[in-house]
Symmetry: C2
Subunit: 213 residues, 2 copies
């Protein structure tokens, strides 16, 4: 069995993977008219999931990637609703621009407040995120309720994100919350449909951060 | 737009999601003859990815779930090749049985050794994992090279895992490494094909841990 495995140098694995993705996107006629910045995001989402559906499902508001890159270079903070996404985002590369990653999911105060108000911890976290000083990028990889709360906060004039990455995954209000955020009038990158997740949220953040270097 | 969103109590979201998954699996004729323990794993993988392909792609060696549950109850440690999976595994629930989660990817010694030997950090991590005392479950969500190294370590008699969760994602040697581990003669749960990832690795661990309570 081992002889079927072809040795690839560690430093060449990612480049080879990206080349395969590009080749297959073209073979499937799924290579859309992305800007180079958008394509870097699409490719990294497929790289992290091996799921070519992201080529069709990723929605970019006009100029969202360019706005995000400017914000990151200006020290924007990333606020996320999942510890896994926070763990996967390249914090070292982000810190070069003085941005930090914030996730309030483990804060006992968040749990208490969510319980008292009968809402999700993720929704409470978005309120906390709105209080972070400076430019803000929200990366929602888990909870549609986080996107819904963000929409409300924007409507109430309580937050003006530089970008919303709307990629919660699941079956209850997921599709609807994503369509809602597309209508919110702020720059966004959204994985339409049910798919997404913390891995996709982290992949999009990293695809943006890597373009800033 | 907001009126399209139906309020669901936070504590009911997961149960409702699981019910939708079961309904759709039956509607798609994709409800296979899993044992109850296997089905809990399948369902949680779909829950974390919204990807029904896992119903067809998840491979369980005979009795793998039962062996894993016994091992967890006996205090088995979980060793993973990704920080995101380590972050996503429910460590609190695992610690009830005295198991811990180990991930050596950030160890500077691992990076040095990988560079010196021209292999991946993930492969080096599996060697470190083999040294962990007690029963061991390996959860590989990123690197096929970790699975390949594990296969070799088993062949060399250097480790005898209770379970291997083989769910790396990607394009280079991923499919082959999974088929290799299925041949390794140890209990395994494998996502055949290219798909997988740290989210799937964590979901499988959690589906097992939750069955032990």
């Amino acid at each position: 069995m081992l002889e079927k495995i072809q040795f690839v140098k560690p430093e060449e694995i990612e480049a080879r993977s990206m080349a395969i993705i590009e080749e297959e996107l073209k073979a499937k006629n799924a290579f859309h008219r992305w800007s180079p910045g958008e394509y870097a995001v699409v490719r990294r989402c497929i790289h992290t999931s091996a799921d070519f559906e992201y080529a069709d499902q990723l929605y970019f508001s006009d100029g969202a990637v360019e706005t995000a890159l400017r914000a990151i270079k200006d020290g924007a903070h990333i606020i996320t609703d999942t510890k896994m996404a926070a763990s996967g985002i390249n914090k070292k590369r982000l810190s070069v621009f003085e941005g930090q990653v914030h996730c309030f999911m483990d804060d006992p105060q968040v749990a208490r407040e969510a319980k008292a108000r009968g809402i999700t911890r993720s929704a409470v976290c978005m309120e906390g995120g709105s209080q972070v000083e400076g430019k803000k990028i929200f990366a929602v990889g888990n909870a549609p309720t986080a996107l819904i709360r963000l929409y409300e906060l924007i409507r109430e004039g309580k937050v003006q994100p530089e970008l919303i990455i709307g990629v919660p995954v699941g079956f209850v209000n997921v599709v609807e919350s994503k369509e809602l955020i597309i209508q919110a009038g702020v720059p966004c990158i959204v994985a339409r449909g049910r798919k997404g997740g913390s891995n996709i949220a982290a992949a999009i953040c990293n695809a943006l951060i890597y373009q800033c270097s």
